[in-house]
Every structure is written in structure tokens, then in C-alpha cells.
């Protein structure tokens, strides 16, 4: 399993919670069992205490005696762990044989007659559970203290056995649950494995992802198929363009070859064909950029004022000798939905075209999603501009002068879903409006 995988994350996550839940459950059960065992043990000791009290006789002189065995033979075996003792204040009056000469420390219960349980250390240093009570004897209100004690080893062994059984059971349950989790995760992630296999297959054979996928994965598959379709369209367009370019280049190349093989090549023909080649490369480069661009700038928002300002600064230098007034009036909220490069390409071509034709003034305005570039030159009429765009689209590279820039802008606008309108400007020249 890789260092970071969904399967690993899910199994580790489930394992962590399972371990915590089982540990908490084990602790609660263990505690409950220990409580129950101790309670039962004290009940037994209480029964022995009652039996001892019943067997106890107090003489008229205050002497205390136990007239019959208390029940459990272990009270008779020295240091057996089972003891009883009857005392009067600090003096032990009578005790079980098992205590031999050892005296259990006495703790007087707060209320005479009430049972009191506590821990104590026995003659051999063993932990004892003691149940005791004070009893009023005779009419003089004298108290005797009756105590029954037994080694806790018995309940400790019982609790230990239960804890072991509990640990084994919960461990087994945990392992079983982890195996179930692993199976469930594997089953749940199987569609992703199938998807990876499909994608691997796509690398070799192409096409799209097929088959039904669960509701959680289906949108991902849909989105991947959209990207694959988009790529396929781009590749198809690229192939078409490469084909067009190759065919388009062949004619001027043939002319060049023929001309160069003649004894006296005509320089004008060579220059003309080279220009034709250059123009063709420009057209295809521009179109390739335009078509590649929309995928790059999805979701971008670019301030028109900033880019228009940069391009205006560049154009003022390019046309420095002409004294052109290039004005940019863009609202702060005028934002372009695309990449910065797309906007630079659209504005650059439109503003450059306007500068070429302007008599003295170029104006760029932008409000919200609408950008307008206009000039005061005789320039292109709206019809001529539309024709220039069509020329670019038809790749009629014999047309001299402008048109290429407008055709690139038209391509970009088409791909970005923007409108492109030509009209007569109030300044006198061409007005180009780009909008949503």
C-alpha cells in the first residue's frame, strides 16, 4: 500500500476509532465486573458476620464467647486468609484460630449496628477485605466490635480471569471488525481502481471513460470525459491547422524552389513569397495561441485598466514620432473574464490597429464587461473590418496590410464566448466593441 492512499487513511482511521471504542468498553466492563465481584464478596463476608454475631454470647460479667463454629473451615486453619475477631475497645476478646496471635486493627463504625467495609493488611502482609460492625451488648450500652476479614486474593484472581477473558474477546472482536473494515473499504474503493484501469487503458487506446460509476464518482468521470473531449477537439483542431499550414506553405515553397532554380531569380518574387510565408506563420501562430488560451485562464478576472494602461504605454513609444493621443478611460470595476494574456492579445491588436489608422487620437473605454476601442482616422469602415476578419479566417494571405490582428481578436472572442462588433466611432474612425 503506498505511503499515502485512501485505503490506508480509511483503515487507519477506522482502526483508531475502533481501538479507542474497544479500550473504553473494556475499561467500563472491567470496572463493572470488579465492583460486582467486590460487592458479592462483601455480601459473603456480611453473611459470615451475621453468623458470627448469632454464635456470640456475652456473659453477665461481660465475657464474650463464640459458642459454635462460624461455618467456613478456613476460619480454623492458621493464616488461611479467612479471619474473624471480636474486640472490646483496644482489647481483643476472642478471635478465630486462623488469626493465631495476630490482632486485626480495629476501626469503629460510625453508627453502631451498621456494616462497614474497608481494606486492611493481614498477618502475612496479604491484602484483606474487612467487614465489621459495632454491637451493643446488655443494658449498659457497652459496645463490642465484630469483624470478619478475608484475603482479597480470591476476588483478585476472579477479576484477573475476567480481565483476561475480556481482553481476548475484545481483541478478537477488534481484529474481526478491522478485517470487516478492510473488506468494506476495498469494496467501496473498487470503482476508483476500475477508473484508474480505464484511464490507463485510455493512454494506450484513447477515447473516453465508459461504464456506470457510483453517484460519488460519476461527476468526476463526467468532468474527466469533458476534459478528454476538450483535448480531443483541441488535438483535432491542431491537426487540421497543421495540415492547413503544411498545405498552405507548399505553394510559396514551390514558387521559391522554381524561382531559385532559374538562372536569374527574380528578387521581387522571392521577397513576395517570403512575406506570404511569414504572414501565414503569423496567422497560424495567432490562431494556435487563441485556441490554446481559453483553457489556461478559466476562472481568472483581470482588471482592464491595468492591461490597457501597459499597452497604451507601449504604443506611445512605438508611435512616438506621430504625436498620437492614446487615452485610456476604464472603470475600476471593468473586469475581463479570462487570462491576462488573452486580454493583452485582444487589447494589443485592437489598439495597435486603431493607432495605425488614427489621425491623432485613440480612445479605450471599459465599463463592466464591455471594452470599446475607437480612433479618429479614416481607417477601416465597419464593413471593411468585417471583411478583414473574414480574410483572416479564410487565410487569404495575399491581402496586404491590416486584418491579421483583427482576425486573431475575432478568433479569441469566438473561443471565449465574447461578442465583437464594428461600427462608426463618434471620433470619426472605427469603433470596436468587445462584450459578453
Amino acid at each position: 500500500m503506498p505511503a499515502d492512499s485512501l485505503r490506508r487513511r480509511l483503515i487507519l482511521g477506522a482502526g483508531l476509532w475502533l481501538a479507542l471504542a474497544l479500550a473504553a468498553g473494556g475499561a467500563v466492563l472491567g470496572h463493572a465486573f470488579r465492583d460486582s465481584a467486590l460487592h458479592g464478596f462483601r455480601e459473603r463476608l456480611g453473611a459470615h458476620l451475621r453468623s458470627l454475631t448469632a454464635a456470640m454470647e456475652v456473659g453477665s460479667d461481660g465475657a464474650v464467647d463464640v459458642i459454635r463454629p462460624v461455618g467456613d473451615p478456613r476460619f480454623e486453619q492458621p493464616y488461611s486468609g479467612w479471619y474473624w475477631q471480636i474486640s472490646d475497645g483496644a482489647e481483643v476478646r476472642v478471635r478465630s484460630r486462623s488469626l493465631w496471635d495476630f490482632a486485626l486493627p480495629v476501626s469503629h463504625a460510625a453508627i453502631p449496628g451498621a456494616l462497614h467495609a474497608r481494606g486492611e493488611t493481614g498477618p502475612r502482609g496479604e491484602a484483606l477485605e474487612v467487614v465489621e460492625r459495632d454491637i451493643v451488648t446488655g443494658d449498659d450500652g457497652r459496645l463490642v466490635h465484630v469483624a470478619i476479614a478475608a484475603s482479597r486474593a480470591e476476588i483478585d484472581a476472579e477479576v484477573g480471569r475476567f480481565d483476561l477473558l475480556l481482553a481476548v474477546s475484545l481483541g478478537g472482536l477488534g481484529l474481526g471488525l478491522m478485517a470487516a473494515v478492510a473488506l468494506q473499504v476495498g469494496y467501496g474503493l473498487r470503482p476508483l481502481g476500475r477508473l484508474a484501469g480505464e484511464l490507463d487503458g485510455l493512454r494506450r487506446r484513447g477515447g473516453r471513460i465508459k461504464g456506470d460509476y457510483p453517484a460519488e464518482v460519476a461527476p468526476l468521470v463526467g468532468a474527466m470525459n469533458e476534459v478528454l473531449d476538450h483535448d480531443a477537439r483541441l488535438i483535432e483542431r491542431a491537426r487540421t491547422h497543421v495540415g492547413n499550414l503544411a498545405h498552405g506553405l507548399k505553394t510559396p515553397l514551390a514558387v521559391l524552389e522554381v524561382e531559385l532554380s532559374s538562372p536569374k531569380p527574380d528578387r521581387a518574387v522571392l521577397v513576395e513569397q517570403l512575406r506570404r510565408l511569414g504572414r501565414m506563420v503569423d496567422i497560424h501562430l495567432g490562431r494556435a495561441r487563441a485556441q490554446a488560451a481559453p483553457a489556461e485562464g478559466l476562472g481568472d478576472r483581470v482588471a482592464v485598466a491595468e492591461v490597457a494602461g501597459e499597452i497604451a504605454a507601449a504604443l506611445r513609444r512605438i508611435h512616438a514620432g506621430r504625436g498620437l493621443a492614446i487615452e485610456v478611460d476604464c472603470a475600476a470595476d471593468a473586469l475581463f473574464a479570462g487570462s491576462r494574456d488573452d486580454l493583452a492579445e485582444i487589447l494589443g491588436n485592437l489598439m495597435d490597429n486603431a493607432c495605425k489608422w488614427a489621425a491623432g487620437r485613440v480612445l479605450v473605454t471599459a465599463r463592466a464587461a464591455v471594452i470599446v476601442v475607437e480612433d479618429d482616422g479614416p481607417g477601416l469602415s465597419p464593413d471593411q473590418a468585417n471583411a478583414a476578419v473574414r480574410r483572416g479566417a479564410r487565410l487569404d494571405e495575399s491581402a496586404p496590410g491590416s486584418g491579421l490582428g483583427l482576425s486573431i481578436v475575432a478568433d479569441l472572442c469566438g473561443l471565449l464566448g465574447l461578442s465583437l462588433d464594428f461600427s462608426r466611432s463618434g471620433l470619426g474612425g472605427l469603433r470596436v466593441e468587445v462584450g459578453r
Partner: protein, 223 residues
């Protein structure tokens, strides 16, 4: 007038050099960004032709370093990168003009001339000094309407003095701007050339200021 060409394609560099020399410029060449940056920093040029895609140091960085160091010579960027994003980046870095490849040699020469003229404060391609008219685009000189034949070096000297007329041009400055960096002219060569230009022009427009250099101005202003 002295021009630096920074371009990594040797054949293109050679053609640019030939075309610019034929147009009357002294030309230095550099084939990578570091060499170009060094030359632009240490030599005096009237204009630079700069490619953007250069080995070692790209053209935008070279331009940026020159401008940071206060080197103000006009720079024509000559590159295959035709996107407006690239163009505005080049202008933001301090370019004065931008020509995309493929290009026509005449266009580059014309634009270099225009850049040099504008940098010297002349808007028109024709520079006039009294009876002398210098057509910077055509490389022609006329006195009182009569054409005068000058050699390439003579034209370079006259053109530099005319671009900076009214100001004293020292011997060192003139050498820096009319010879390429490999040339090592003898001390009196400039005197001989200036004297020859004076003879050909037959007009008192170039004045020698002993120990300082030369100043070009119309005859009426001579002092």
C-alpha cells in the same frame, strides 16, 4: 553612429551587421545576454538591437539591468515572440521599439535611425544645419541642394555631429560613436577626416575648439 546588435543566431547577426554598416553605422555584436549586457554597460552606443531569447541571460533581464544602471540608449527589441503580453513586458522593461521576426532589414534600419533621431530630439528624418541637409534615412548629404558624396566613415562623423549640433563633441566621444570597439584609430585620423568633410561640404558648419573637440552649428551662429 554606433550600434550594438545582441542576437544569438550568427547568420542573422552577420546580416544585421552588414545592413547596419551599409547604412552608415559602426556595429558591435554580442551573441549572448551576458556579453551583450557587459558591452551595453561599458561602451557607448547610440542604439541597440536586442533579441529576447538569448543564451545565459534573457533579453528582458539585460534590458532591465541597463535601465537600472541608468543606461538610456534607445533599444529596439527584435524577437520571434509576437504576443502582446511579451511586447508590453519588453516595453515595461524599457524597450523603445519592437520588431517581430521575420522582419525586413530595411525596416530595422529605418526604425534604428528613427530611434537615434528621436533620442537626439529630432523628429524629422532630415537634419538641417545651415545650408547642409542630412537625410538620415537615405544616408544622403546635400549643401544648398547639391548632393555631396561622403564615405561611410565621413557620413558617420557628420551624422553624429549633426545629431548633437550646438554642443561640443569631444575627440573621445566621437571615436566611441563612430568606430566599433575593435577599431583603434591613430590620433590624427579624426582631424584628417573632419578636415576632408569640411572641404567636401564647402560650408563652415563644423567648428574646431582647440583642446576640446568639434561643434556643429549653422555658420551665422559660429563664434
Amino acid at each position: 553612429m554606433r550600434v550594438l546588435v545582441v542576437e544569438d543566431e550568427p547568420q542573422l547577426t552577420l546580416r544585421l551587421q552588414q545592413a547596419l554598416e551599409a547604412a552608415g553605422f559602426a556595429v558591435d555584436t554580442a551573441y549572448d545576454g551576458e556579453e551583450g549586457c557587459f558591452l551595453g554597460d561599458t561602451e557607448s552606443y547610440d542604439a541597440v538591437v536586442l533579441d529576447l531569447g538569448l543564451p545565459k541571460l534573457d533579453g528582458i533581464s539585460v534590458l532591465g539591468r541597463w535601465r537600472e544602471a541608468g543606461r538610456a540608449m534607445p533599444v529596439l527589441v527584435l524577437t520571434a515572440r509576437g504576443r502582446w503580453a511579451d511586447k508590453s513586458a519588453a516595453f515595461a522593461a524599457g524597450a523603445d521599439d519592437y520588431v517581430t521576426k521575420p522582419f525586413e532589414m530595411d525596416e530595422v534600419v529605418t526604425r534604428i535611425r528613427a530611434l537615434i533621431r528621436r533620442a537626439a530630439g529630432h523628429a524629422s528624418p532630415e537634419i538641417v544645419c545651415g545650408p547642409v541637409r542630412i537625410d538620415t534615412n537615405g544616408g544622403r548629404v546635400a549643401v544648398d541642394g547639391m548632393a555631396v558624396a561622403l564615405t561611410a566613415q565621413e557620413f558617420r562623423i557628420l551624422s553624429y555631429l549633426a545629431h548633437h549640433q550646438g554642443r561640443v563633441v569631444g575627440r573621445g566621444e566621437l571615436v566611441e560613436h563612430v568606430y566599433d570597439r575593435n577599431a583603434d584609430p591613430e590620433s590624427n585620423v579624426l582631424d584628417v577626416l573632419v578636415a576632408r568633410i569640411r572641404r567636401k561640404l564647402k560650408a563652415e558648419v563644423i567648428h574646431t575648439l582647440r583642446g576640446q573637440g568639434w561643434r556643429m552649428e549653422p555658420p551665422a551662429n559660429a563664434g
